[in-house]
Point group: C2
Chain length 384, copies 2
């Protein structure tokens, strides 16, 4: 591509089509910015703006109030001894794996784990043993499965895995396993546990110390009303010197964070949204109520919600045999559902899916959720 | 910190004090957003907004036009066979080191390298051999120094280093070494070269293939008018399958990028600014002229610019014995310069520095640069 006037015109400013739609995309419902965060973006958008008064490392910046946020507010919010901001939940997971495990070591993770947990382990050149769920329709993770997986690793490698990981909730079914029990099983073998809270920190109350998790990761753009990429990483005192070890040559810089991570407006959006985010986690019961209400309505329309039931999270997976059947004869085929929803200004179910799909009801509100339910009702009737 | 109403009030939206100052901070002059990027922030600020129509991996997204940007525009712009966006230049460097070197291997880098190059090597658990500069006042890197350093590594470890790194320009003196010659020296030993262009890509024309660099990294927030954290990574065809290797279990995901990197508004600001950024690199001669003009003016006021002279880059390092002398008796001591400049709405020389400091003239313009020169003149006269 020659970079002439006409090819450059392809780039520049672009509009975002689904910006004002009713959004039920699980990836997006928890990342919609607050008004404060939108203002922060404009104020702090310039590259390296947060470094105006940098004392040498991101988490120590006093103006704006990053130090208080990282060292006082976040530890309280997620119940972890030491916290840092990172470039995202996956980057947090890799930082932990790369710190506590050596190449060739084994780790254990649930088989509902996000792909990025596997890819982080592959990047750290680790072997993985997975804990099976009970499969369809509950996809339940038995905490005792961690004992079995740890035993398997001991049999295979002669020593326990370097760590275990539990996805809380998983990103497909929105299941919340018994994390406390998993932590206790892992600790019987002296195996530290990482809790992947990408879909929970910022949506629901999380207290890593209370659960007994040694590491906890969250996602700003997924669940903390932040502009990405940004995440959080909480570590217990026992492991903080390992994960947050300093450079031998550059004493202020933490090696695993490459010195600094979310060095820009992303962090200022997280701080801007924080008061709201804290408060919304205190309204979690209402979100669970809305999720259950929505699940019941869709089941009444002939769809089937799998995973935890009654459900405990806004992220839900539906099987939709009736929608699939329509797609077999609809003019737009498997894209008909996407198009029908789009024409009703509803965004978030992946284009082309009909037989099953996931969605999120987080912060959508009962009124908009009713609109979505009515849309499904209309669409089903239209093709009857 | 209890997260009650009063402590939460510490966070939320905050204003940025130096937002409208004349900015000569080397970290910041190249990262000031274009108007198009500011609009993009508002439009694409929500978490995971770029994933509205994701086909499974960031660089393949067609709407917005990320695929064309990453696979057509960026390779042309930086002269590299394959390009990806990353979370920043340091993250790009780590990705390369972690891909092409094994733990315990050696790499060679210039001793003007940014701290994050060293920290990235430490994170990848590599040994480093540095190439000395000529020291004060030129800080010149002799390309033949790379041959010597490579020989040292061979003597020490029995094999050549896994790679070499050259900082182009360095972040202290803004020196542009003979990168072509360094590449050719490294290639004589079959050692691939990484060029750290955090202060050049987006400011001046860069063509990695023409230089002969096997890897090239750039920084969006430092030099491409982007909201951070975001960077670019260019790799020659020879190494692209190594650096951008795919996951064995998740076929679309690149392991070293953990699947996706700048998955948010950061990328949309880079795309929004791109037409402007391409054009400004074509006006680089004027920036060099301005830098030289400014350097001469400050030297006339009793300061001394070290590094390349005449200078070839907007980033410059000054020794200021006269300013230091004033600080010895000024009421605010070593903070006097910062305060005097601040009162004249000039931001970017680190608070507390007087004996020497660095600054950047990039895109400040002749008029504002005159204001800075006049400010120094006034300040010196005031304390005479």
């Amino acid at each position: 591509m020659a970079l002439d006037e006409s090819s450059l015109q392809k780039f520049g400013y672009m509009e975002r089509e689904p910006l004002n739609a009713i959004n039920i995309d699980p990836l997006q419902t928890g990342g919609i910015l607050t008004e404060e965060a939108r203002q922060a973006l404009v104020q702090w958008g310039d590259g390296y703006s947060v470094c105006d008064f940098c004392p040498g490392t991101l988490d120590q910046i006093k103006k704006p109030k990053i130090k208080d946020f990282v060292h006082e507010a976040l530890p309280e919010f997620i119940g972890a001894d030491e916290v840092r901001v990172t470039n995202g939940a996956r980057e947090s997971k890799f930082a932990v794996m790369h710190s506590v495990a050596n190449e060739g070591d084994w780790i254990v993770l649930d088989n509902l784990a996000h792909y990025s947990s596997h890819v982080a382990a592959q990047r750290a050149r680790l072997n993985t043993e997975t804990v099976s769920s009970t499969g369809h329709p509950d996809y339940w993770i038995d905490p005792e499965g961690y004992a079995k997986a740890i035993e398997n690793v001991i049999d295979e490698s002669g020593k326990p895995p370097s760590m275990a990981l539990l996805t809380y909730p998983d990103g497909n079914y929105g299941n919340l396993p018994n994390a406390k029990k998993v932590a206790s099983v892992c600790h019987e073998y002296d195996v530290p546990l990482l809790l992947n809270c990408a879909y929970s920190i910022g949506r629901m109350p999380i207290d890593a110390n209370d659960i007994g998790a040694d590491f906890v990761v969250g996602s700003g753009h997924k669940s903390m009303a932040s502009s990405g990429p940004i995440g959080v990483l909480g570590v217990s005192e026992e492991y903080s010197d390992i994960v947050f070890r300093k450079s031998p040559t550059h004493k202020k810089k933490e090696v695993e964070l490459l010195g600094c991570t979310a060095r820009g407006a992303t962090l200022m959006t997280m701080i801007a949204s924080f008061p709201n985010v804290v408060k919304r986690t205190r309204e979690w019961d209402r979100e669970v109520e809305n999720a259950r209400w929505f699940s019941e309505k869709l089941e009444n329309l002939g769809m089937n919600q799998v995973g935890d039931k009654p459900h405990n999270h806004d992220l839900m997976f539906f099987e939709a045999p009736n929608i699939y059947e329509i797609s077999q004869k609809a003019k737009s085929g498997r894209y008909f559902l996407y198009k029908e929803l789009k024409s009703r200004n509803i965004h978030g179910i992946k284009a082309g899916l009909t037989k099953f799909f996931k969605l999120s009801t987080f912060r959508v509100g009962r009124e908009n959720l009713s609109t979505v339910v009515d849309a499904f009702d209309e669409i089903i009737k239209k093709y009857e």
